[in-house]
């Protein structure tokens, strides 16, 4: 195919019409949307697209994953580390259904994705054809938007709409299901025009000045203002604006795990992590502050604990781009809806310069208590076995907080989020809302493609890694230099912790055996090492980081260690337990 000629036709200004197949039009559209990397897996119903891809291999890098779930998690990791839209291809039927965990994960964590699935020929729809699944309906509740294309003429317009919807407003996953006939069909391609307006879709609500003024008045008059922030700050690329906002009025700020890394760990106003396994001070003082300012976060139940005892004493200001989030879980005093990139500077301009020294000191006071009771024993254990925390501590010392940390789900995730240091935004990539075990390794592969110049460490448990361990094959074939750090406690640790604390230690199916991970890695051509001695930790971590390429390091940690502090389910945030 003469791609040069096509490219010319693809610019919207020219009137030139080219005859293309639906598949070619799709790939032309992806190029114009700035896509460079696709994660995917071929199959019968998407073969025409893969056939067209053969001619585009120099412009579109396709990473062949080992399972579609791995593909979509990689696309999520890519989107999260790069800030761009992740793209994933899958075939119909099982290919598409294997995507669904990742689609749901991206939906709840607001990750911009465009998923392309093949579908059986249009004339076979509804006949229980081979590998036919009603993907559009299956994914309806977990996509921001989806659409089935049965005619190639629709491809440019629908693809443009998909990218616009995925990346604007509150981002999210979009799925396009394309029947095989539309992929093959030749049609007059009149060019590809990116979409910037859909009349029924209002991604960014208009900012209302009066609410900004009300919010500023509340903050200025507050004695104990407290900021809690989420991924909205990162998604809105408003890290600078956020920093200016908290610095001007001396506002202590705590993060949700998806908001982590929006400001550096060592920022003087960063008072730590919110929620069930968050830090002591921000949880306790949520129920002591007089004005609570929520920025780009959604009051998830893991953050709020018991709602009827959550910040009842406080006036609440909520900045969010999604109007449906206002009042959803916590009744708000002043809503500031809009893109925080826009609203934060408006608010900052109206704030009085303050330092709230005494109030901030209160956070530090409680922090000292937590350091003594929890943090110090976790980071500097005296027992023989290693703790997860001390592994993270040494990792911090070696990376200087410059690495992207991708975690799986469970105890190691909470420990990593609690103790990892971050200097740069978009550095903590984790499955927050859905809590998807198996997310870590494939998301780290995607994160590496999204930020090729950065060190990417996938921190996984022995349980979660086994859910998507096949993606070592993707690393083997395409060489993503992902450092996999396995914190092995021989248990499904988080469930075990709950069984210990709440089910009288009745350890029901949490004892999980693992293969020799290092031999498995070796089978995939990835070097690695397993250690169980503290004396080897630093050297082993250094070897992992220094190795030119992918590496697997397994660290044996305490089998029955627990993550503390903890807000037990059904308790208020101020009832957080230190042990």
């Amino acid at each position: 195919m003469d791609t040069l000629e096509v490219k010319e036709a693809a610019t919207p200004q020219t009137e030139k019409v080219t005859t293309l197949t639906g598949s070619q039009a799709l790939l032309e559209g992806l190029l114009i949307e700035g896509v460079t990397t696709i994660f995917g897996y071929p199959g019968g119903a998407i073969m025409p697209i893969y056939d067209a891809l053969y001619d585009y291999h120099d412009k579109l890098e396709h990473i062949l994953v080992r399972h579609e779930q791995g593909g979509i998690h990689a696309a999520q990791g890519y989107a999260r580390s790069s800030g761009k839209v992740g793209v994933v291809f899958a075939t119909s039927g099982p290919g598409a259904t294997n995507l669904i965990t990742g689609v749901a994960d991206a939906m709840i964590d607001s990750t911009p994705l465009v998923c392309i699935t093949g579908q059986v020929f249009a004339h076979l729809l509804g006949t229980d054809a081979f590998q036919e699944t009603d993907v559009v309906n299956i994914t309806a509740p977990v996509t921001k938007w989806n659409y089935q294309i049965t005619d190639a003429n629709e491809i440019p317009g629908v693809l443009a709409k998909a990218f616009h919807i995925a990346r604007t407003g509150r981002p999210g996953p979009v799925l396009i299901d394309i029947t095989k006939n539309a992929q093959i069909q030749k049609f007059d391609f009149k060019g590809y025009t990116p979409c910037n307006h859909i009349r029924s879709y209002r991604p960014a609500p208009k900012v209302r000045k009066s609410y900004v003024e009300q919010a500023a008045k509340l903050i200025n008059e507050a004695k104990k203002p407290f900021v809690i922030f989420g991924q909205g700050v990162i998604l809105g690329e408003a890290e600078k604006e956020f920093k200016a906002f908290i610095e001007k009025a001396g506002l202590p700020a705590a993060w949700t795990i998806l908001g982590e890394s929006a400001i550096p760990t060592d920022h003087p106003l960063n008072v730590g992590m919110l929620g069930m396994h968050g830090n002591y001070a921000p949880n306790v003082l949520t129920n002591d502050c007089d004005v609570l300012i929520a920025v780009g976060m959604r009051f998830d139940d893991r953050v709020t604990g018991r709602l009827d005892k959550y910040a009842k004493q406080a006036k609440i200001i909520h900045l969010d781009i999604d109007p449906a989030e206002i009042d959803k879980n916590v009744p708000v005093t002043v809503p500031v809806w809009g893109d925080c990139k826009e609203t934060l500077p408006m608010l900052t301009a109206l704030l009085d310069s303050k330092d709230h020294k005494e109030w901030l000191a209160k956070f530090r006071e409680l922090e000292a208590e937590e350091i003594k009771e929890v943090i110090d024993p976790e980071l500097n254990p005296t027992g023989e076995v290693m703790s997860m925390g001390e592994v993270i501590k040494v990792l911090n010392e070696l990376t200087g907080g410059e690495a992207i940390i991708v975690t799986d789900v469970g105890q190691h995730q909470m420990v990593a989020c609690r103790y990892a240091d971050f200097k740069r935004s978009r550095s903590n990539i984790t499955s927050g809302g859905l809590g998807t075990m198996g997310f870590g390794l494939p998301a780290a592969i995607g994160a590496k493609y999204g930020a090729p110049d950065r060190t990417v460490v996938a921190i996984c448990g022995d349980g979660g890694l086994q859910m998507t361990i096949q993606e070592f094959g993707t690393i083997m074939q395409f060489g993503a230099a992902v450092k996999t750090l396995i914190l092995n406690n021989h248990f499904l640790g988080m469930v075990r912790q709950w069984q210990q604390l709440f089910n009288d230690k009745r350890y029901s199916f949490v004892n999980i055996t693992s293969p020799d991970f290092i031999k498995v890695a070796e089978g995939y051509g990835i070097p690695g090492k397993s250690i169980d001695q503290r004396a080897d930790l630093r050297a082993a971590l250094k070897e992992m980081l220094d190795h030119d390429g992918a590496y697997v390091l397994e660290v044996m940690v305490g089998k029955e260690n627990n993550v503390f502090p903890m807000v037990p389910q059904g308790c208020s945030v101020s009832e957080i337990r230190l042990k």
């Binding site: 559009v136 309906n137 309806a140 509740p141 921001k144 938007w145 989806n146 659409y147 089935q148 919807i165 910037n196 307006h197 859909i198 009349r199 029924s200 879709y201 209002r202 991604p203 960014a204 609500p205 208009k206 209302r208 009066s210 009300q214 008045k217 509340l218 008059e221 999604d322 109007p323 449906a324 206002i326 009042d327 959803k328 009744p331 708000v332 005093t333 002043v334 809503p335 809806w337």
Partner: protein, 215 residues
């Protein structure tokens, strides 16, 4: 318009008289005419385990725009949040929810009865007249009548006809006109502009902030 999706500045418990009592709400959703949207909207109710008591979808006075009229029985807080989630759907232009006092509504019912019964029994003829029924089809063996009204009215005739050999009965979903509405044309024009809309959420307190906003 009153009683649309709105931000409450006080916790729900303090804001209205019986906020936790389930009431009948009519939700009117203006949408693009698109395959699959019915399913997307329907699952928003089932996900929250809300039973849809009546659902009507039909074209509006504007070409290409559909109107859903959905009746549910729920507490206002749930309806208000659900309404905002409905508005989030990409192809939904606008969604309103109203209590019965705010709308004029009708349902249509059709009754198929043996023609012999009507011609022979004066009482049936009187009944039909009493309920304002109109004949829409008259055959030698059966006649189809229709009535339009609220549920109690169409039910009334149904019960009254039951002893006289009613062959078939069917009732439509509710359709409703919002008393305060000013039509959808102006709103649509606004949506077609590129600028973000003012009306993402109407706020009934917007002009009365002194009354509801206290430091």
């Amino acid at each position: 318009m009153k009683n649309q999706a709105s931000i409450k500045y006080a916790p729900a418990a303090e804001s209205s008289s019986a906020p936790h009592q389930k009431k009948e709400f009519t939700i009117s959703v203006f949408t693009e005419n698109q395959i699959g949207l019915l399913s997307r909207i329907a699952i928003m109710f089932s996900r929250r385990k809300i039973n849809v008591e009546s659902l009507n979808v039909s074209p509006t006075e504007i070409e290409g725009i559909s109107r859903f009229t959905i009746v549910i029985s729920e507490v206002e807080e749930v309806v208000s949040k659900l309404n905002r989630q409905i508005e989030k759907q990409v192809e939904v232009l606008k969604s309103y929810y109203n209590v019965n006092e705010d709308i004029v509504w009708q349902e249509l019912a059709m009754y198929k009865v043996p023609t012999s019964v009507i011609s022979e029994k004066a009482k049936v003829e009187r009944l039909l007249r009493e309920y304002g029924a109109q004949a829409v089809a008259i055959r030698s063996d059966y006649t189809v009548f229709e009535t339009v009204g609220h549920r109690e009215e169409t039910d009334g005739l149904l019960n009254a006809l039951a002893p006289y050999g009613l062959i078939e009965f069917v009732r439509s979903a509710r359709v409703a006109i919002i008393k305060d509405s000013e039509g959808f044309h102006a709103k649509l024009k606004e949506f077609e502009q590129h600028e973000p809309s003012q009306e993402v959420i109407e706020n009934e307190f917007l002009d009365k902030r002194d009354e509801v906003f206290t430091m």
